[in-house]
Symmetry: C2
Subunit: 684 residues, 2 copies
């Protein structure tokens, strides 16, 4: 296929629509869409496999716009190809409640992942490619390439400067993900102006060092043949990811083309008219799409629908021949877990020995691995500490390494926490995988950019965050989280679990796996924790519950999480000797507890009893549930963990002392209101 | 100088001390110190310029152990060279309250920066090198090279996998920092085992792509001559940073040398004895240092003292000839700000026009740049949005670029938020610079790993965090912080400011600059904010104060920060019409307010008046000050900012509505206790 006038007309239509959208919004980024219109046109029209009428078709090629600020481009493509995106939607660009927000969001039909924070989309694309590779290796059979899609990602200079993209690129090279093709918009412009001011590295050489195949297209604004040839060649490279460096002109066609001025603000009215006129459009009109452009794109869409139809036939045959594989793939695509999987979750009683919650998690992982085939685990180079690997796990590796194969379900992420999270978002977005990945809780913060997007994008990603506190001991304050739980508890749509024993750990996994639209952080101890009397999975799945009740009205409620719950139980014994009746509430997951009925919550944290919270973290946020807080609002210390706990007085005596002070301080206050009582529901 | 038996004895002494320290602690990392002992010996003995008796000597070479888990090595060196580190300290390795914590901390004499979280030390080293380069360019004169130190950094595979190190390496290459020498411990082992499982990139090629000079030493365990020659050559490369890839054997000498087993756990008793015996030490004894080893190292220390003495003479002459430069350098080294600098802080009155706090910040930066020469600013490629650059600023660039020079005080960090923060920590540690750097508040989270270390290490770093809320409007939820303030408010030793107007912005800068041991995050608005009646710098520097008082006893206290304070003031007018008397408290900095006297705090948030907090973030943490919270516990939205504020009801009417509900709900509660009343002080 060679390119003709119609292609140029399509490209220019995209360009002037981007000009109009940003002009109408009086906000946004016209430059990148104008520069990327040619490659987008060639890619979508000639190579991409998709059906706008079924945007969730399992074997579609995945497209990720990592430079998400260029989203006008993506919305225009969705419109022109006939996705659920009207001209009215384009006109509402960047307006409240529109389908065209300022950066692409994955709830919009046809958009795979939410991007915008630079580097995220790139790492998502690596995750999508990994997921495809794994799914192919798991399900494809001789003559049945049921899963063989590509992942294409557009990226700008900004993404490639970000560490998360460097990490992901290095890992993609190591894993030899041949189905991944990156198109790098090398336009020499970032927000501060010419990239010469901060970004002068040799990008091609860097990617070669990572093990990528590199291609260059010098005339990315005009040379459709070369663009097409480069993509063609990249598709043929099957043992490496490819990057095509495309020299483009930001804002091509504008009077300020090739400058930073066209990056992040609409064109002036005059310049907008200029662009339209040089591209042969009516300079007075806006949102012009020639009918032949619509026709042209709809033809491609029809072709896409046909390709899907052919695939459906292939899949039917596959289903006949490999019924259990087909059933499993279909089940995984619907997001339904295997029947009865939850029976594998272990339960414990107080007679069972004390076990670290990271080890309790390991026991669960060992079982889940065998009953939930879509459960893919890994670690950022802390496998032996996170205890994330099951006994007969196979590593996800290129077979040539001799270290595993592509059907492997254990990913060695290397010391790349941020990329691990970014990849897991992509893996979750692919649709056939539930990814879980381990690191120390303190280093989840390295991944904060991606963790935020897990929550915002409703990706079911499980962060296994061991060494969850000063309880990690000797590694000291650089490794001991203090602020981390407050951070992630404040993150909307994120479930942060900190189980106190075996039953609570099982409950945490139960909710993490059944809540399909929410990510989870599991904060797990390094040190052993006793199995508590009064805990059950059934109680713990409510997020918070009364672990230890008093016969008569209590003098105080102790509320705690994780490793401190057992210490609170011991404190109760000391308080009893002092004539103080204490009850204990375990609150392993705030997010889940908050969704319970008010009656239930008030039964757990009732009025008329002062409440003391106990947790070895910043007290910030605990005022929501308690009248008094015992926590650590400074950094930790290096030493054997018992000594560190003692240093901060998180021992039964230290808790009892503060509980007694609390009882004394509140004794004349009548009535005592549970902090749960509020004038209005907080905006949720 | 060639190497002899004594050198080998020194190296083996270091090795067996590392074995003993970790064995005694029953915890820690013997492998890396054993592998790195040769290069550490050669570097410190032959090349490093330092005086153990004056660890803060301005022109000392800087040493950074980025693979901080190898800190036994660093403590041993400090001990052998006669720093304030006794044999007893070595024996207390990893114990509570010891001088030898599990990772190096910068409060220990002779340790420049706190490391351990991987990649941080590497980026700190780039910052130290940048600071030295700038200080040299600013102060050195013909024949007076008063500042010419090198920065050496040891790094392992882990650091080089981290994105923050990639970002920092790319920037160091761009900036051509010839005084920076990295020694890469290429031991093929990370925690998960052989680096083949996740890290197979070509590191040399990657660093060449960044613009670094690369060297390789194949026999890093034994070939002292080659190690020395490589360092010698690297020192001569003046227009590029250098990396020496040193092939070593982790745990050299141990029976499990070259395996992952020797990385993170002490040797067995038998293996420890084995190591001692093959190195010719008494296998039954521990903590052995032959006298001649002490003598040898003390000789180097004496040489170092002499070098400093010579420098002192040079500096005296410099002082005679360039008295004002010398005085400035000395002043900067003591951390004292220039006399009267604070007079440059602007004040505002309610008649002044509404201005965005990012623009108010720009006005201050414009002034500070001229009165505080140690103030070095920059941005992670958002200069035009963060408004961090003053009019006649010179960029910090290699002169050959034609874009600036090394005396320039404006750093173009590129889209590298994490490295910006890591570099700023190093710059602050250097001692002659107060660094400030800009990005959007939401993307400070990308830098969380380094921001945490700013706080833990008491670095005076200023984060200029603009576009601080949904008020940034069209960019939408991917760019709008919700959880961010809770995160950093929970971080110990971090001052998070969110000024409401001009006077508060000046107050924020006043405290940020005068508090030498604390970092600051300035959350600044994109949108205009009115100048408030009742605000003064004097009040705002208390962190919180009564902005608007009622004549009679109030029915409600509204407490708020930043852009919402002005909306609260408007809400008061609506409430007045409803017969509700409301007072308004502005709380721009929790950390600072918390340090005020209880009496003062209770005067701002008194008993017997219900308190409603108003802020467009997660409500988490606000329960500390308020009875009721109005916030956003979900993600934001894309749209013009006024529409977004309206969507979430953060308009005067929405606040007034909730205030009325609060008054109604609390009307029968007597007494109402201010949440500031507590049974005991939280652990701080």
């Amino acid at each position: 296929m060679s390119f003709g006038e119609i292609d140029q007309l399509c490209i220019n239509t995209i360009r002037i629509l981007a000009v109009d959208m940003t002009f109408q919004a009086n906000s946004g980024h016209p430059g990148a869409p104008m520069g990327l219109a040619p490659v987008a046109h060639v890619l979508f029209n000639k190579f991409m496999k998709f059906n706008p009428k079924n945007p969730k078709w399992a074997n579609r090629d995945r497209f990720v716009l990592s430079n998400g600020h260029a989203c006008a481009l993506q919305y225009i493509l969705l419109h022109l190809y006939g996705y659920d995106m009207t001209m009215e939607d384009l006109k509402n660009f960047r307006q409240v409640n529109s389908k065209t927000p300022g950066h692409p969001e994955n709830h919009i039909s046809g958009i795979e992942v939410t991007t915008g924070p630079l580097g995220q989309g790139f790492s998502n694309a690596v995750g999508l490619a990994l997921a495809q590779t794994h799914t192919s290796a798991t399900f494809n059979k001789d003559q049945f390439d049921v899963i063989n899609n590509y992942t294409y990602v557009f990226t700008g200079d900004g993404c490639l400067m970000e560490g998360v993209a460097s990490e992901a690129a290095s890992l993609a090279g190591h894993l030899k993900l041949g189905n991944l093709i990156c198109i790098y918009d090398d336009n020499h412009i970032s927000i501060d102006g010419d990239t010469n001011c901060a970004f002068t590295e040799d990008v091609d050489k860097r990617f070669e060092a990572y093990g990528w195949q590199t291609f260059v297209v010098e005339k990315g604004d005009t040379d459709l043949e070369s663009i097409s040839a480069a993509i063609e060649k990249a598709r043929k490279v099957r043992d490496k990811p490819s990057i095509i460096r495309l020299r483009t002109t930001i804002g091509f066609g504008s009077k300020i083309a090739g400058t930073g001025k066209v990056h992040g603000s609409p064109l002036s009215k005059e310049d907008a008219m200029h662009v339209k006129s040089i591209f042969g459009f009516d300079s007075e009109k806006s949102f012009q799409v020639p009918d032949i452009v619509y026709e042209f794109y709809r033809k491609t869409a029809t072709k896409g629908a046909k390709v899907e139809k052919e695939w459906n036939i292939l899949f039917s045959e596959y289903e006949n021949k490999y019924s259990s594989e087909a059933a499993q793939l279909k089940r995984r695509l619907t997001g339904k877990l295997p029947e009865g999987w939850e029976k594998s979750l272990p339960t414990y009683s107080p007679e069972d020995k004390a076990i670290a919650s990271r080890t309790l998690s390991q026991t669960i992982i060992e079982k889940l691995a065998h009953v939930i085939p879509e459960f893919i685990c890994g670690s950022a180079d802390l496998t032996g500490s996170n205890l994330t690997r099951w006994k007969d796990a196979v590593d996800f590796q290129h077979p040539s390494t001799g270290l595993g194969d592509y059907s492997g379900r254990y990913v060695r992420y290397g010391v790349r926490e941020h990329a691990m999270a970014g990849l897991m978002n992509g893996m979750a977005a692919y649709g056939t995988i539930i990814p879980a990945g381990g690191t120390f809780l303190n280093f989840i913060s390295y991944a904060a950019g991606s963790v935020r997007l897990s929550a915002l994008s409703h990706h079911q990603v499980i962060y296994i965050a061991t060494h969850d506190s000063i309880g990690l001991g000797e590694d000291g304050p650089t490794h001991q989280p203090i602020e981390t739980m407050a951070h992630f508890r404040a993150l909307p749509n994120m479930m942060v679990w900190r189980p106190a024993d075996g039953n609570e750990t099982s409950a945490a996994y139960y909710i993490a796996l059944t809540e399909r639209g929410k990510p989870t952080i599991m904060a797990l101890s390094r040190q052993n924790l006793p199995q508590l009397s009064g805990s059950t999975i059934g109680k713990a799945i409510k997020g918070g519950y009364t672990l230890l009740e008093t016969h008569e009205k209590a003098d105080i409620t102790l509320i705690s999480t994780g490793s401190e719950v057992g210490i609170c139980v011991d404190a109760v014994k000391i308080l009893k000797m002092q004539g103080i009746k204490a009850r204990v509430v375990s609150l392993p997951c705030w997010e889940v507890f908050d969704t319970q009925s008010k009656d239930y919550k008030l039964s757990v944290l009732p009025d008329d009893i002062p409440i003391l919270s106990v947790e070895v973290y910043s007290t910030l946020g605990w005022e929501k549930y308690s009248h008094e807080q015992f926590g650590i609002n400074t950094f930790g210390a290096s030493g054997p963990y018992k000594d560190v706990y003692k240093k901060y007085d998180f021992i039964p005596e230290g808790i009892a002392k503060r509980a007694a002070q609390t009882v004394e301080f509140w004794k004349d206050v009548k009535p005592i209101r549970s902090p749960l009582n509020r004038a209005f529901e907080q905006l949720i």
